[in-house]
Each structure stands twice: as C-alpha cells, then as structure tokens.
C-alpha cells in the first residue's frame, strides 16, 4: 500500500496515470485497480483526496429525474445512482433515501409540476407523485406558508461525499494503486511510449493518461492540444445548520426550475444537519471558494421563506464549492486514441452521483485507446467508519465499547466522536494529513462549537498520532 506526499516519485512508468483525486479520479482509479496487472498512479495536487469540489457540494444522490434526455450525463447519473446505492450498502457509506419534494410557491411553478413528472417518467422515475397543499404540509409541517403543492420524488437520497471518495481511494490503494499527494501536474509531454508528466515533485511516466482534474481539466486538456471546452466555475455557497434543526425537515426540499432560474434547496444531511443553498454564481477565479456576505444574506432570505424556523438555529458551517461548468450542457468525456488519453471534463453538478458510472465508462474508453487491462478480479470489500446518524455510531454500540473502551471516550462532544475513531482514522490506509482531513474522516470539530471544547484535544491527538505514524528520521 503506497501513499506518498513527499520525496521522489517512482521512475518506472505506470500503465495509467489518473490526474486528480476527486470523487471522479478516485472512482476511476478504483475501477482500474480491479485489473491486477495494471500499475496505476493517482496523482493529486493537494494534500488529500477529495479536497476539490468533491468535498463541497450538496451531497445528494440524484435519481436523474430532471436530467436532459439523451445526454451522457443523464445516462451516467441514472446508472451511477444504481451503482452507488449498491456500493454504499456494501461499504457502509451512509445513505438515506429521504425523497425530494419540488415545492411550488406560485401558479407558474405549480403548472410546471405535471411536466416535470412526465419528464421524470421518461428518465425512468415512475414513482413520482403530485401532492396537494394538504398532503404537502402534512409531510412538512414546518414549511413556510404559501406553498401550493409539490412533486414527490421518492428516490432522491442524501449521502456522505467524504466517505464515498475515501472509500474509492482506500480500495484503490489497497489493491495496489500508488496515490501521490501534493503532486501538482505542471506540464505534459508525449514520449515514444506514453506521457511524461512534470510535477511539483519531479517527473512521472505513464503509458496512458486520464484527466480528472476537475476545475483544471481544460488546462490539462490544452496542454495536450485540445480546445474542446473552457471551465467557468459556478460557485455554490451553502449554510449548514445545527443538528437541533434536523426535526424541522424530512425531505430534500427542491426548488421548481422556472424561466427565472433556479432557487435554493433545503436538505437534511446524513450527519443530522440541515443544508441551505447553493447559490449559482458564474466566476473566473478557480480558487474562489470563499463565501460572501451577499451570498449568505441571499440564502437566508430564501431559507426564511421555505423553512422559517430554520433561521433561528445556529449555523455550524459556511462553505462554497465550484461546479466545473463549461459552455456545453453535458459532461465532456472524450477519448483521444492517438494520444492514449481520456479527458473527463465538465463534471458539473452531478459528479458525486455519477462517479461509479463515469469510472466504468472511462475504463471502457481507455481500452479503446489501446490499453489492455488484462484480467479482472473483485476487489477486497472495505468497511467504512459510519459518520451517519441514521445508523449506529460507535458510541451507541455496547459491543464495540466493551471490546475497546476508546469508543466510549468522546473527544468531540458536539459530534460525539470517540478517541477510538480518531485513532482509527489516523491509522487508516489513506490517513489525514491535516485537521481538516481528520474532520472529513471522523466529523471531529465539525459541530456547533467548532472546537471551543474539543479543538485543542483533537489537535493533540492528531499531532501525536501523526508523529507516531511518521517513519523515523524522515523529517528534518
């Protein structure tokens, strides 16, 4: 098992290098890792997997009910939904099938619902139901006044995006993929038998290349001579409300898309919080993941209408993610057989859902670029630590605590994270390198106090755990 973040890179060429360890790159690496003969490198600029858009989204497992028919995105979202639902059940990624309600607040929106139901049917969602105001308010008693009706889409689900990305990466690494973190790819050149990548940590050779660089996929694509698309980041700001808000909402409350654009959603999270967002702002800066006063104010205005009581609760997180939008209304997944290269670009607002289907599709395309994947085997299953409130957490399991009292010793009180869970995360196959990485693996420090009580204690465990794991003499 190899995860590196410093030192020289291996000099022998890889069969495939996947650039970008977001949810898409990790899924591709995992899919490729099912072929034991392949030598695979997963190359990531940042210090952890899933540090880009994959960590900052609305965490919905979409059915694809509203997808545009005939697009690649529509197909991969639908297929990805099936694949990821099954995979989540098998690996312990928390998923809750809470269902969505598209709430109509005016006559125009109400009139749009039957058309949306018909579209959902064409997309394979035959179980949608139109609800009148009586049934809507019975289902969502805290909804603000004035809703006229809703379309119920029972299959829409919520899941944990961090565990998903980490599960893929863990399985890939366990199956022999080399994960190189802190390795930004700066230039690519064609060589006689493949690609020569110039990275922040030296040169890396690979016969085949997969570009899963998210917001930077167009830059890498241009370096290989393609002018197919330009990424225009579309920022989505979000507010996360305290767990005490969770009883206020049962479904994902979606806006009805109209000519005037899309509103915001209110959705529970698997951690037991409530999300409000996202905004949709077209930007040019691909690092503009900051939130803004205007953005947060606009969200709160919309949230006040949808779920007035939500605004009385404390906010436990504010964040923003950037969708890799392009000038095209579809994914930009393209094989370049002459270059032994596949571009996975424009994975805009559905990539989490579609990830496993994208991976299967890309592996197929790679074969078309001359890759002989060799035999295939089933991967060792992984059991991911449960971060979801709908399933027993370690502190709720007498059996686990009896066997190891560290699971009964809570460190992060707001999120009820035990010392045992922090220890396990630090000893995992893809360990966190920062406190943020530890938070995404355990939820430590993610709660309402944001570290007032536990911050220093968590940092202490992190620093001790890291120095224990560090090979001696490796650091100056």
């Amino acid at each position: 098992m190899t995860v590196t973040a410093d030192g020289p890179l291996p000099s022998t060429p890889y069969d495939v290098a996947v650039v970008g360890a977001g949810v898409v790159g990790c899924a591709v690496a995992r899919e490729l890792a099912r072929h034991p003969r392949l030598r695979i490198a997963l190359v990531e600029a940042q210090d952890d997997v899933g540090q880009g858009t994959s960590k900052a989204n609305t965490a919905i497992l979409h059915t694809g009910f509203d997808a545009t028919r005939g697009t690649l995105e529509a197909r991969l979202v639908r297929e990805g939904y099936q694949r990821l639902s099954a995979y989540a059940a098998e690996t312990g990624i928390p998923v809750e099938r809470v269902g969505a309600l598209l709430v109509a607040w005016d006559e125009e929106q109400l009139a749009a619902l039957p058309g949306l139901a018909a579209k959902a049917g064409r997309n394979g969602c035959h179980d949608t139901v139109l609800l009148g105001p009586g049934e809507l308010y019975a289902r969502e008693p805290h909804l603000g006044p004035g809703a006229l009706g809703a379309l119920h889409v029972p299959g829409e689900s919520i899941l944990c995006p961090w565990t998903t990305t980490l599960a893929y990466a863990t399985q890939a690494v366990r199956a022999g993929t080399d994960l190189h973190l802190d390795t930004p790819v700066r230039a690519v050149e064609r060589t006689a038998d493949g690609h020569r990548l110039t990275t922040g940590r030296g040169i890396l050779h690979a016969r085949h290349l997969v570009n899963a660089a998210g917001l930077h996929a167009d830059t890498l694509d241009r370096a290989l001579g393609h002018e197919d698309f330009t990424v225009t980041p579309r920022r989505g700001q979000l507010l996360v409300y305290d767990k005490l808000a969770r009883p206020l909402v049962r479904h994902i409350l979606l806006p009805v898309p109209t000519a005037l654009g899309k509103g915001v959603l209110v959705a529970p999270t698997v951690y037991g919080n409530v999300l409000l967002g996202p905004t949709a702002e077209d930007l040019h800066d691909r690092r503009a993941t900051e939130t803004t006063a205007d953005g947060l104010a606009a969200l709160r205005d919309q949230g006040r209408r949808i779920l007035p009581a939500l605004l009385d609760e404390e906010v436990t997180a504010v964040y923003a993610g950037l969708r890799a939008a392009t000038e095209h209304e579809d994914y930009r997944i393209t094989a370049h057989p002459g270059q032994a290269y596949v571009t996975v670009g424009g994975i805009r607002s559905t990539g989490l859902t579609a990830s496993l289907a994208i991976a299967a599709h890309v592996t197929g395309l790679l074969a078309g670029t001359g890759l002989d994947p060799g035999p295939v085997r089933e991967l060792e299953p992984v059991a991911m630590p449960n971060l979801g409130e709908a399933f027993p957490r370690p502190h709720q399991r007498p059996d686990l605590i009896a066997a190891d009292p560290e699971y009964g010793t809570l460190v992060c009180h707001c999120e009820r994270v035990s010392r045992g869970e922090i220890r396990d995360a630090l000893a995992g196959p893809v360990p966190p390198r920062t406190l943020e990485g530890l938070r995404r693996r355990t939820r430590a420090r993610a709660g309402r106090c944001q570290g007032f009580y536990c911050g220093a204690a968590v940092r202490d465990l992190f620093e001790r755990g890291r120095s224990a794991a560090e090979p001696k003499g490796d650091r100056a």
Binding site: V240, E290, A293, L296, E314, T316, P398, E406, R416, A456
Partner: protein
C-alpha cells in the same frame, strides 16, 4: 443491553454551577449525588483559565485554583464525580438520562436532575463571517485550552474580535503564547471591559482598540492571511494576521435541555426557569451559564447552590410549581434571567443585558401596562456584554393570573 442505574440526584456538568449544586446536596444528605462530566477532569471552564479573576476579594484565585477548590468541596461533601461520561439524551419520561463513557452506554434514573452544561462562544460560522476557511481561526475557549492545557503553538500575529472581559483574557493568552496582538475589534463605540483592563491593554501593551468596527471577511487559503474589517462609516481595511480569535457572543449549551423538551427562553436561549431553578419539566432543574450566557463563575456557583436548596425541597415532596408568569425584555435589552415569576420562588435578583450602550439607564417593569417597578441603573453608562442586575422584590406585585411581565428602558 444498556445497564440501568438509580441515583438520587444527577448533576450534568462539573463546572462551578454543577459542582456547587452537588456539594450543597451531598452536604445536606440528599443521598447518592452523582455529577457527570464529559471532559477528562472536573472544573468546567475555569480549569482552562490560567489567569486570575476568580475566587473572592479576600481569596483571589486563578481559574484552575478555583476549579480545584470547588471540586474538592464537592468530593469532600460526598458527591460522586464521574468524568469522561457524557449525558446524551433523555429516556421516555421523567428525570432519566442516557449516558455513555468508557464503561459503555447506560441509563441513569434520578429523583432530580440538575442541568449545568454551561455556555460556549459562538464560532465564526454561527456569526456568519464570510470568506475562506483557513486554519488559525479560534474562539477564546479553544485558544485557552490550546495554550494552557496543551502548550500548542498558536501563531505570530493575531486579531481579537471583541472587546469585553473575555476578549482581554484572549489577548493575554495570545501574548503569553508569543503572538503579537494586532488589534481588538469591536462594533461598539467603546470597550466593554473594566476601564483598568482596557487601558492596560492599550497603554502598557500597545494593543490598538478599533471601535465601531466589525470583522467582515476572512482571507487566505490554507492558513489565515488577514481579516477584512469595516468601520461604521463604510471604510474597510485588511489587517494582516495569521490568527483570529472570536471572543464573547456566548450561547448556552442547551442541547440536552432542548432534547428534553424543556420550555426555552427566546432571549437567553437557555431553559426558562423561575427564581429557584425549576424548569418546565418536573424533576429537572437548571443553573449556571446554561441560563444566561455568560456571567462570572461566582454567579454560576451561587446559582448552583441555590438550585441545590430547591432540589432538597423537591426531594422532601414540595410540589412542582406551575409554569408561572414569563418575564420578557424589550429592545435594546437582549435578555433577562431568571425569566419566570412563580409565587414560591423569588430569586435573589435578575441579571440582564443590553445590546447597545445606555447612558443613565432606567429600567421599567410592567405587567399588562401596570408599572411594578422603576429602577435607575447607574451611575454612568450601561454597556453591552456586561452584567446588569435588577432586584426581585417587585415579584410580590405580579398578578399570577396576569400576562407577561415586560422589562424595558422606557
């Protein structure tokens, strides 16, 4: 399966309020008095305050010294302190809690429960400060623990958001940790700490105080590189720093209270209580900063002891009081505690807060338009984030059948 146990009184939280309640109860022979503390050691927030400012005039103490004193008193009185044990939730009815610790989950049934879970500072997120999400963002609570309990490195240049007592404590801790304090920033027109303290920071340590100013944005990827501030007149500036501490803006740690369905006070955001710590849930009492974020430790301890007396009456069979008449405040007042008037439970007094400075303030207490009490606070100006008090002798004039009692400044 989950083990079930019985005690006479279960106190949640071993801060000043909980420890004082437990000591009082154990000393009076209330039977088995057990205190649950989720942290590894008892003492609550004072344990993390290496500075002075605790104890009494005659016996000044540091925070840890004060925590030790209260802990020893509770233990000597015969209370059982269980650390590393968290109260998670309530069983179906009555004063029964589910808890977890290294020994596993259990259910503890008590004849009375005292909630003393304290208060925390609102972090950056709850204050809706926009910007990036860099490292180097603290509350005073985290800062003090990091420095005093773990000796962690903090940073080199720090901005302190706030200019109340706790903000100056944060500035002191930062300096002790080797960081330069760039400025204290407050939206108010002046500091809300004692003049001696504010002056010492400004003159002796050269820490500028930016009044009428708010932190409007955090900057920097990875590590904080600065904060943007805005003055009331619209000017903005960037203060370069690698650390920012959000101080004050306390909120009660009310999770357990709310999970138990206790009636809450919209002003304090803590459980509504009468003058002797009764909540709306029979058998459940509350004391300390859970009721009013935030008062000095001595106040919390006195309330704990007072709650202890009420618990003794309850154990002796006193009936649970009716909800009583609510006490509410009008703007610019922010909250008042206790916030219920019941005939049998007159408090020593009320504490309250204003949201803006009030020169020569006068408080009016009215019920259904009838003036019950008029009180001049003073001399001088009443500041936000500082304790204001109101005596309670007007409780006799409250009509128990009447409407809410309103406290206002006009």
């Amino acid at each position: 399966m989950t083990a079930a146990r019985r005690v006479d009184v279960l106190v949640v939280g071993a801060g000043p309020a909980g420890l004082a309640a437990a000591a009082r109860l154990a000393l009076a022979g209330a039977g088995r008095v057990e205190v649950l503390e989720r942290e590894a050691r008892p003492g609550g927030v004072p344990r993390t305050c290496a500075h002075g400012g605790f104890g009494t005039w005659t016996r000044p103490l540091t925070g840890p010294g004060y925590a030790r004193l209260l802990t020893e008193a509770a233990e000597r009185a015969g209370a059982t302190l269980r650390t590393g044990v968290t109260a998670l939730d309530w069983a179906a009815a009555g004063p029964v809690l589910t808890v977890v610790g290294p020994g596993g989950p259990e259910t503890v049934e008590a004849r009375a429960v005292v909630l003393a879970t304290g208060a925390r500072e609102r972090p950056r997120t709850a204050r809706l400060v926009p910007g990036t999400r860099p490292a180097g963002v603290y509350t005073t609570g985290e800062l003090q623990r990091a420095v005093h309990l773990f000796g962690q490195h903090i940073g080199t240049r720090a901005v302190v958001a706030g200019a109340e007592e706790v903000s100056y404590a944060a500035a002191g801790t930062l300096r002790a940790a080797g960081a330069e304090v760039v400025a204290l920033v407050t939206e108010h027109p002046s500091a809300q700490a004692g003049p001696a303290r504010a002056q010492a920071a400004r003159l002796r340590h050269g820490i500028p105080l930016l009044t009428g100013t708010t932190v409007t944005e955090l900057l920097g990827h990875g590590r904080l590189s600065g904060v943007r501030v805005r003055h009331r007149d619209g000017r903005t500036a960037v203060l370069a720093c690698d650390t920012v501490v959000f101080t004050g803006d306390f909120v009660p740690d009310h999770e357990l209270a709310r999970r138990g369905g206790l009636a809450m006070d919209p002003g304090t955001r803590g459980p509504a209580v009468d003058g002797s710590a009764h909540t709306s849930r029979p058998g459940v009492f509350a004391a300390g900063n859970l009721l009013h974020a935030v008062e000095p430790a001595g106040t919390a301890a006195r309330e704990g002891a007072r709650a202890g007396r009420a618990v003794l009456d309850h154990l002796a069979g006193a009936p649970w009081p009716d909800p009583g008449v609510p006490v509410v405040v009008s703007e610019p007042l922010r909250w008042i505690a206790p916030n219920r008037v019941t005939p049998a439970a007159r408090p020593g007094g009320h504490v309250l807060r204003t949201g803006v400075p009030l020169p020569h303030p006068v408080l009016y207490v009215r019920q259904d338009g009838r003036l019950l009490h008029r009180r001049r606070l003073g001399p001088g100006t009443a500041h936000p984030n500082r304790t204001l008090t109101l005596p309670a002798h007007w409780h006799d004039r409250v009509d128990p059948e009447g409407g809410e009692v309103r406290v206002s400044t006009d």
